[in-house]
């Protein structure tokens, strides 16, 4: 557990450092994710240690956005007179982007024969909803 956490933090630290030094537009943790992926692929021992800890962190990813979300409540006035228009732009463009992205994926998967993989056992949208 401690070794896995140490490795995760080390990857983030290296990522932050490289992003700073090279002035990359990519955030450090995203570079750290790439580095961690290379480590996981390179070593079965790393994978055995990091996989359960990583899954544990990601299981409650939603929690990690709560502090920043509370900050939004205090800054709603920053949206100013344009608030309603910005909400319209965000809602419509998010709907369009999700729909267009998913359909583009589906179309190219079909065209290249990468198949349509379905969750075994049928409908994706029932009960607990879909991704």
């Amino acid at each position: 557990m401690i070794r896995a956490l140490t490795l995760i933090l080390l990857c983030q630290l290296v990522g932050e450092t490289v992003a700073r030094v090279l002035g990359l537009p990519v955030p450090g943790p995203v570079l750290g994710m790439g580095l961690m992926l290379a480590l996981l692929a390179g070593s079965a021992r790393v994978a055995a240690a990091v996989v359960p800890v990583g899954q544990g962190i990601l299981r409650h990813l939603s929690l990690l956005f709560v502090p920043a979300g509370v900050g939004v409540v205090g800054h709603v006035d920053r949206l100013g007179a344009e608030a309603a228009w910005l909400m319209v732009a965000i809602v419509v463009s998010t709907v369009l982007a999700i729909a267009a992205g998913a359909l583009a994926f589906k179309l190219v998967a079909w065209a290249t024969g990468a198949g349509e993989e379905r969750a075994s056992g049928g409908r994706s949208g029932g009960g607990s909803g879909g991704g």
């Binding site: 990813l61 205090g74 732009a89 998010t94 982007a97 999700i98 992205g101 998967a109 969750a119 991704g131």
Partner: protein
């Protein structure tokens, strides 16, 4: 007698409160309590899209801060420990990528298609709609990177001349909107492929969308993580060009 005991209890409570409110323990604990309550409500509602745990926890905490007259700075003293974990969690997104590696390799072209289309539509449509509604150029600069993860969006907005705070607010609102609309939207469009659903969500609604995807299906979560990571890079390259075309 009773009144005096009551007064003392109130005074004691005020003293304990002011002691606790000074340290990080109180707000860290309340952040977790709010999330546990929100997650239980979300589960109880069958993970209905509107019962989003982030949204519920934020509302509960927002009301608590407002009711107790606590500033965000004081709250964040405690909540920063949770906030800090966003970095390690981003690194941990390598785990589902690694586990889904074989499936990802087979889907490189669809992933790239979903990424490019989703990313371009997110930036272009937001700027086009906002400009048509009369939103000014400085606000457009903060809006352009709204679909990408917060640290990247802040950097992009700043380099374009927009307000970093406004950019962060717009990013978080986008994430919550995405997490709420994705399930009914993709059900209506009959997209049943978990890979397509996840990727599109990560591209359009970054980490909050990815959190929603993990809640629903591990494969959707893995592809959402890929979408979020790749879109961080693509938006950084794309947003300045698109914004220039709109000014």
């Amino acid at each position: 007698m009773g009144d005096r005991a009551g007064d003392r209890a109130v005074a004691d409570f005020a003293e304990i409160w002011s002691y606790l409110a000074r340290g990080p323990l109180l707000w860290l604990t309340l952040t977790l309590v709010a999330y546990v309550v929100a997650d239980a409500l979300s589960q109880w509602a069958g993970r209905a899209p509107l019962a989003n745990p982030v949204l519920i926890a934020v509302i509960l905490l927002g009301l608590t801060l407002w009711g107790t007259g606590t500033s965000y700075a004081v709250y964040f003293e405690g909540a920063q420990f949770v906030h800090f974990l966003l970095g390690p969690a981003t690194v941990a997104l390598a785990v589902p990528l690694y586990l889904e590696g074989a499936r990802l390799k087979r889907a490189v072209l669809p992933v790239l298609a979903g990424l490019v289309v989703g990313s371009v539509v997110a930036v272009v449509s937001a700027l086009w709609i906002a400009r048509a509604l009369g939103v000014g150029p400085e606000t457009l600069a903060a809006l352009a990177p709204k679909s990408t993860t917060a640290p990247v969006a802040i950097g992009i907005a700043q380099s374009l001349g927009g307000s970093p705070t406004l950019a962060a607010v717009l990013v978080l609102i986008t994430g919550m909107v995405g997490a709420i609309v994705v399930t009914p939207l993709l059900n209506a469009l009959r997209v049943r492929d978990w890979r397509a659903r996840g990727l599109a969500t990560g591209v359009a609604a970054h980490g909050i969308g990815t959190a929603r995807a993990f809640q629903v299906h591990p494969q959707a979560g893995a592809f959402a993580g890929i979408g979020m990571g790749l879109n961080a890079i693509l938006t950084a390259l794309l947003a300045p060009w698109v914004l220039r075309a709109f000014l």
